[in-house]
C-alpha cells in the first residue's frame, strides 16, 4: 500500500482519494487458520474501519498434487484420491469417477446400480448442504443450528458406514457397481431416516428460515448477479441462487436421473440468504428423489459384468483359476484400459464436478484433470465482499461452500 499526500494506492492497483476514507486504512490477515474460515484459506483484507476495500486471496495451503498422483495409479486406486476433494460429499466424487471410467470402458451398469447410486449421491448432497447451511447459522451467531442437524448427518454417515465401512472419506462403490448390495441394516436405517428426517429437517429449518435476526444478517450479504456469476464460471447452488437454473442432473442426465421427478430451486438476488434457501429446497428435492428411487428400486445385480475390473467373490478366488487371475490383475492394477479421452461431469455438492480423463492404454491415466467447482468460483470472492463489513465476509465465505480439499486439490 503506497500513500501520497491525498492518494492511497491499494494492492490491487486501485487508487483512492483520502477524502473518501472514513477511518484509518489497515491491512489484516483473515486466515489462514482463523476459526471463522472453516478451512485453510487466507484473505489479506485492506479495510477502512470495518469496511472491506480489497481482498487478496492465497490458496494452495493443502495442495496434495492429486493430478500428478493419478498419473501413477491404477484406475481403482484413484477413487480414494477423489474422496479428498469435496470431503463433505465424498460419495458423489467416488461415483462420478466410477462413471467416468465406465464411460471410457463402454460399460453399461444395471439399472439397479444406477438407482443405488442415485440414493447414495442424494444422501451425500443432503449431508453436504446440511453442513453448509448449519455453518451459515454458526457464523451468524446461532450455534444450535449447527448442533441440531449434526445428529441427522450422523444418520447419513451411518448409512455410508453400512455400505463401505467408512464415514468421511468413503471410497464407496467399485468400477461397475458396488461391492455389495444394500444390506438389511441399510434398508432398515434408510427407511428410518426417510421417516424421521423430514420432520427434524423442517424443525431445524424453522429455526432459521423466517428468523428475523438470521434474515437481517444474511439478506443482501455477499450478493452476485447472474451475469457476473456466469462470467466467473459459477455452478451448483451458488449459481442457482443467482437465478440461473443450470443443473447437470437435468441438462446431461447420468445414472438414470431422467427417471425422477424433481424441480430445480432458483434464487433471485444471489445473496447469502438465497444461497441458504436454495440449499434448503435442494435437500427437500433430494429427499423426493431418494423416495422415488428407493420405492422403485429395480431388481437385479449390484454390479456390471466386467470381470477385468470388478473383484470376484473371495470363495471363487480360492477355487476358480479364472477368478484368481482376475483378482490378481485387479489388485496389481494390470487391467487393460482402452485408449481414449473422455469428459464426464456430475452435479457435486457445490457445482459441476468434472473429470477429464486421457488414457493412452496404460495402467494409469495419461492425464486426469478434475473440474473442481469451488476452485473456479472462489475467485469471485473479493468482488462479492468488496464494500461489505468483515462480518459479512465471514458469512459469505461459509455460504459459498468453499471446501479446502477441493479448492487446493
Amino acid at each position: 500500500m503506497e500513500q501520497t499526500d491525498n492518494l492511497i494506492k491499494l494492492s490491487n492497483g486501485q487508487v483512492l482519494s483520502k477524502e473518501t476514507i472514513d477511518g484509518d486504512i489497515a491491512t489484516i490477515n483473515f486466515g489462514p487458520t482463523h476459526p471463522a474460515t472453516h478451512g485453510i484459506f487466507q484473505n489479506i483484507l485492506t479495510v477502512d474501519g470495518e469496511k472491506i476495500l480489497t481482498s487478496v486471496q492465497t490458496v494452495g495451503y493443502i495442495h496434495r498434487a492429486f493430478e500428478k498422483l493419478a498419473e501413477r495409479r491404477p484406475y481403482n486406486q484413484i477413487t480414494p484420491i477423489t474422496d479428498r476433494l469435496n470431503y463433505c460429499s465424498s460419495p458423489i466424487n467416488n461415483l462420478g469417477w466410477h462413471m467416468t471410467v465406465e464411460k471410457l470402458l463402454h460399460v453399461e451398469v444395471p439399472k439397479r446400480v444406477q438407482y443405488m447410486r442415485v440414493i447414495i449421491m442424494e444422501l451425500a448432497r443432503i449431508a453436504d448442504h446440511l453442513i453448509c447451511d448449519s455453518i451459515i447459522g454458526v457464523d451468524t451467531g446461532a450455534l444450535t443450528s449447527f448442533f441440531y442437524p449434526f445428529s441427522e448427518r450422523e444418520k447419513i454417515y451411518e448409512l455410508y458406514e453400512e455400505m463401505c465401512g467408512a464415514r468421511l472419506t468413503t471410497n464407496i462403490g467399485r468400477i461397475g457397481g458396488f461391492d455389495k448390495d444394500f444390506t438389511p441394516v441399510f434398508h432398515q436405517k434408510l427407511k428410518e431416516f426417510l421417516k424421521t428426517f423430514p420432520k427434524a429437517f423442517e424443525e431445524w429449518n424453522g429455526m432459521l428460515e423466517r428468523n428475523r435476526i438470521f434474515m437481517d444478517r444474511t439478506r443482501g450479504a455477499g450478493p452476485i448477479s447472474a451475469e457476473r456469476a456466469l462470467a466467473y464460471g459459477f455452478t451448483g447452488p451458488n449459481l442457482r441462487a443467482a437465478g440461473v437454473d443450470y443443473d447437470v442432473r437435468v441438462m446431461h442426465p447420468y445414472s438414470s436421473y431422467e427417471d425422477f421427478d424433481f424441480t430445480i430451486p432458483v434464487g433471485v438476488n444471489g445473496d447469502t440468504y438465497d444461497r441458504f434457501m436454495v440449499r434448503q429446497e435442494e435437500i427437500r428435492q433430494s429427499l423426493r428423489i431418494i423416495n422415488q428411487a428407493y420405492n422403485n428400486l429395480p431388481e437385479g445385480t449390484f454390479h456390471a459384468d466386467i470381470p477385468e475390473f470388478f473383484l470376484p467373490e473371495k470363495a471363487d478366488v480360492y477355487n476358480n483359476m479364472e477368478a484368481l487371475i482376475y483378482h490378481f490383475k485387479i489388485v496389481m492394477g494390470e487391467s487393460e484400459v482402452p485408449v481414449g479421452e473422455v469428459y464426464h461431469s456430475v452435479e457435486g455438492g457445490n457445482g459441476e464436478l468434472g473429470y477429464y480423463l486421457i488414457s493412452d492404454g496404460g495402467r494409469a491415466p495419461y492425464r486426469l484433470q478434475f473440474r473442481r467447482p469451488c476452485f473456479i468460483y472462489y475467485q469471485a470472492y473479493p468482488e462479492m465482499i468488496s464494500g461489505a463489513n468483515i462480518s459479512d465476509a465471514v458469512i459469505t465465505l461459509s455460504s459459498i461452500n468453499v471446501i479446502a480439499g477441493e479448492l487446493d486439490a
Binding site: V59, Y246, E341, V342, Y356, I376
Partner: protein, 165 residues
C-alpha cells in the same frame, strides 16, 4: 443440436482455421492453431445460434514425444442453449509456450490459467496476474510436465513394472 450440425456450423464459420475434428465419447473435439484459439472461442461464444456461453474448464496436457507441439491447451466449452459441449485444443511448442489469455472473455479463466501456468509453464499473453497459485512462489519448475517423475528415480526397492506405470 447434434455434433454433426455443430460441426457443419463450425466448418461454415471457421473454414480453414479448423485443422482437425473428431467426436470422442459424444463430444466434438476440434483442433485450431494457437494463434486462432482466442478468436475461435470468442466467435463460438458470441454467435447467437452456437452460443457457447460457459467456459467449463481450461487445462493442458504434455506430450513430450511430439516435437514442436509438446503442449496441448484444452478448452472445454459448453452451450447451455443447445445443451452441447465442445472441446477446443491448441498445440504449442515447449520452447515458446505462449497463447492468448481468455480473461477478456471470461473472468473465470483467471485462476484456471494461473493453475495451468503453475503446473505446465504455459504463458497466457494478456493475463492480468500470471503467477503461481497452488504451488509456492519459490518453486523453479512446472511439476505436471512429464519429465518430472512422481517418485525419486534413484529408488531401487520398487520395480515400476509391477506398480502402475
Amino acid at each position: 443440436m447434434t455434433n454433426n450440425e455443430l460441426l457443419d456450423a463450425l466448418h461454415e464459420h471457421l473454414g480453414t482455421k479448423l485443422i482437425v475434428s473428431e467426436v470422442l465419447f459424444d463430444t466434438l473435439v476440434i483442433e485450431v492453431a494457437a494463434a486462432d484459439a482466442f478468436g475461435v472461442i470468442e466467435l463460438v461464444k458470441n454467435d447467437s445460434t452456437l452460443s457457447f456461453n460457459f467456459l467449463t474448464l481450461i487445462g493442458a496436457v504434455h506430450y513430450p514425444e511430439e516435437k514442436g507441439r509438446e503442449l496441448c491447451v484444452v478448452y472445454h466449452m459448453h452451450s447451455w442453449k443447445n445443451a452441447i459441449r465442445l472441446r477446443v485444443k491448441s498445440y504449442i511448442p515447449q520452447e515458446n509456450p505462449s497463447i492468448k489469455s481468455l480473461t477478456p472473455l471470461f473472468d473465470g479463466a483467471n485462476w484456471q490459467e494461473r493453475e495451468t501456468f503453475d503446473f505446465f509453464g504455459i504463458q497466457f499473453e494478456g493475463h492480468p496476474n500470471l503467477t503461481r497459485i497452488l504451488n509456492m512462489d519459490e518453486m523453479d519448475y512446472h511439476p505436471m510436465l512429464k519429465q518430472y517423475h512422481l517418485e525419486d528415480e534413484t529408488r531401487e526397492d520398487k520395480d515400476d513394472r509391477f506398480f502402475g506405470r
